[in-house]
Amino acid sequence: MRELQPRVAIYKTSGINCDAETAFAFNLAGGKAEIVMSEDLKKGEKKLFDYKILTFPGGFSYGDDLGSGTVATLELDTYLGDKLQRFKETGLILGICNGAQMLVRSGLLPMGTLEDRQATLDRNNSGKFLGRPVRLSFERSICVFLQDPEPNSPIELQVAHGEGKFVMSPSILSQIESNRQVIFRYVDPKGLPTQEYPFNPNGSPNAIAGITDPSGRIVGLMPHPERSILKSQYPNWRRMGDFKPQGLEFFERMVKYASQM
């Protein structure tokens, strides 16, 4: 069944603070977004499978006690585990920043299964939180909604995190590279992938900023596309002519793909 406006669940727990703008971004991109409290799903007042896109927005879920996203991931696993695992059969999953941390801690990234946790997101090499715009190159990946036409690259998005460094074993790293599961890399002013601070804000290996799972339907990003959907959100919009905000394109592609699922 095709929906003109796919319903988007913006999953919110205590401490999440990017829910409103993420919902706004999906709505602007043609989706029908709704902020869904973890309580609503636990009690069954809302049903996960009523949605085509499930999004975990940024923030500090449960204060990031025990590590970023850890408590929220435990809650997810406990109350939704099986459903979460099956969601990608009928929909797309997106995690941004704290949401990406949750997806990685759950195991859904990079391997696509709650049974197999093969990575983590660790403290930035600088030891500090960093909030600033970064440049990113789109990689040719298996992400289902970033296929033809190939997205423009490089793009500029905001990062705002203290724990954004992907950590995994060399064999997993080479596996996700050869599977083309890397979506975004941090690039320097010349447009080349970089380990140099602050262009690479956290020291992530291979300059990885975002990844997908083997199905291409689960995506985790450290940068915030929902903060670059309006022209006025760009720090230098006064110096720029007319342009299409690059975060918006990301959401539009996702919504378009989901509407055909």
Binding site: G15, K128, L230, P235
Partner: protein, 539 residues
């Protein structure tokens, strides 16, 4: 009457009392149990629950539990009706608190709300959805009394007339004697670039980017003017512009003005400087001084006659500013306890300061500007009435001088200057604007170059000393970029202004005085000096 949020514990008992007394070497140990323990996640949950309850029209009124906890929050919220509360119902962090401890605890993240009994169930559901604890403590009973119970026991029973009028007004003697500082004659700088670098790398002028980057300035997607912008994202802006409703063009502009030195020399002019600087920062991005409010925060040592006198003069000065520009001050606070007593009895005082924060609204945030120059060959204009005073300036400070003549602001001229700047920004004829503050016009122009990766040709054609002109810090003056001198005349014909020069390709800052070259600097070198102090501390 409902309390929501965090539980009540022993933390923060007498926090307000302690923070209103001075500090000694014992403070860190003896007073630590008076410090409240913050929990930002609890605060975020409360905020979300309140917004939802507000949108559903479930709240009659509310106040947060700040200093003195329930006693002030409940006491104040019920002042026109009276209240009967049972504090044994208050959720506690742990057992064993006496009624008085519950009553004055300053545990954080608690809110007191008045909810219509008919809305109670729905309100409690909203709180539950956000994981927020909510407890009914009592009723506003209309008896005009503050009745506090602990179960069946009445632990306080006070008449509101006594609570409001029972304490006689304290009288504090005040007298301000102006201190006279040495103000030796100084030579015009022989090494201009070194002088400029010294000013740019002064703590009150230098780049604070490494600090700002450690905060999230783009969360919620509302920021429409980055704290640092320009081609390399490292040039400071004057205010923040927020888009509070993402699908509307409305803008909220917020800025601040404060100076840590001037009040010591001249509280009347120092306070006026702070207020002018706060509003000028707002105007420099395109804000409208006729659509704004102010918030004043006074920080002073424990007031003796002299500090009390200073405070009295500052308040009068802010009031005069408020009257002249017809801008209301809607909020504020004072902290009159910033004195440290050493074991030997010696005292260290903070400088007496007032910080003026501003908040204004604009109908269209696209009609705002940033500080970075936009075009090559455009005209650079100084707008506003400069006063000759140099006391308290950064330039003086780099020479070890305080001085006596604080720059004065002409409140007759100021509103016209603000209007001219704003009109030029709104109609798009001012393409960059930056208000002059610490470091003077030349520091302001330097920052505008940093944001543009451009140089400038300047010619100071007037009669005054070039150093006193370039480093003067009169508040309410601006550097702006316009297309050409004719534009400047059409925009600023009714206010004091002067054309200073043009932007140029490359990285040279060339400054002439009455037609002859005064000095030539390199923008990149100046920027390195300006960035060096905080880079050294934070990298």
């Amino acid at each position: 009457m409902v309390v929501i949020g965090g539980r009540t514990g022993r933390d923060g008992i007498h926090g307000a009392t302690i923070s209103s007394s001075g500090r000694t070497e014992q403070s860190a140990k003896a007073d630590k149990e008076h410090v409240q323990i913050g929990n930002p996640i609890e605060e975020k949950k409360i905020g979300d629950a309140i917004l939802e309850a507000r949108d559903k029209d479930l709240i009659r009124t509310l106040t947060d539990c700040g200093a003195a906890g329930f006693s002030s929050a409940i006491g104040e919220i019920a002042e026109n009706v009276g209240v009967n509360v049972d504090i044994s119902k208050a959720p506690l962090k742990y057992e064993g608190l006496s009624p008085w401890e519950i009553w004055v605890s300053e545990s954080q993240e608690r809110m007191i709300l008045a909810i219509d009994p008919n809305n109670m169930e729905e309100f409690l559901n909203v709180c539950k959805r956000h994981n927020v604890e909510a407890t009914d403590l009592g009723i506003f009973d209309g008896n005009n009394k503050l009745t506090v119970r602990y179960g069946d026991e009445v632990v306080a029973d006070l008449d509101y007339d006594f609570l409001k009028n029972g304490l006689p007004q304290k009288e504090m003697p005040a007298e301000f004697k102006r201190e006279i500082f040495e103000e030796p004659e100084i030579d015009i700088p022989s090494d201009w670039v070194a002088t400029l670098k010294a000013v740019l790398s002064h703590g009150n002028v230098c780049s604070k980017l490494p600090i700002v980057e450690q905060y999230d300035t783009t969360v919620q997607g509302t920021n429409a003017l980055a704290p640092f912008g320009g081609v390399n994202l490292d040039a400071p802006n004057d205010a923040v512009v927020i888009r509070p409703i993402l699908d509307k063009p409305y803008g909220l502009v917020i800025s601040h003005g404060m100076n840590p030195i001037l009040n010591r020399i001249n509280p009347e002019r120092g306070a006026k400087w702070a207020a002018t600087e706060g509003v000028a920062n707002l105007v420099a991005v395109g804000g409208n001084f006729r659509e704004m409010v102010l918030c004043g925060n006074y920080i002073s040592p424990i007031p003796d006659r002299q500090y009390m006198g200073s405070l009295d003069i500052q308040v009068d000065s802010i009031c005069a500013f408020q009257d002249a520009l017809e801008i209301p001050i809607v909020s504020g606070k004072d902290s009159l306890s910033s004195t440290y007593t050493w074991p030997d009895g010696k005292k260290t005082h903070v400088p007496p300061v007032v910080n003026i924060s501003t908040m204004g609204r604009i109908p269209d945030l696209e009609k705002t500007t940033s500080t970075d120059f936009k075009n090559e060959g455009s005209t650079i204009v100084l707008v506003g009435k400069m006063h000759k005073g140099m006391a308290g300036s950064t330039y003086y400070d780099t020479l070890g001088i305080v001085g006596n003549e604080v720059p004065d602001v002409d409140l007759e001229v100021l509103p016209h200057v603000f209007d001219a700047i704003r009109n030029g920004i709104v109609n798009g004829e001012i393409t960059a604007a930056h208000d002059i503050s610490e470091g003077g016009a030349i520091s302001t122009i330097s920052e505008m170059c940093f944001g543009a990766d451009m140089g400038v040709d300047l010619d100071i054609h007037s009669g005054e000393r070039p150093d006193f002109f370039l480093f003067n810090e009169t508040a309410g003056t601006f550097i702006v970029e316009v297309e050409n001198p004719e534009k400047a005349e059409s925009l600023f014909g009714n206010v004091p202004y002067r054309v200073l020069g043009k932007t140029r390709v490359g990285s040279d800052m060339k400054v002439a005085y009455q037609g002859k070259e005064l000095f030539s600097g390199n923008i990149n070198e100046l920027k390195t000096a300006w960035q060096a102090p905080m880079k050294a501390l934070f990298h």
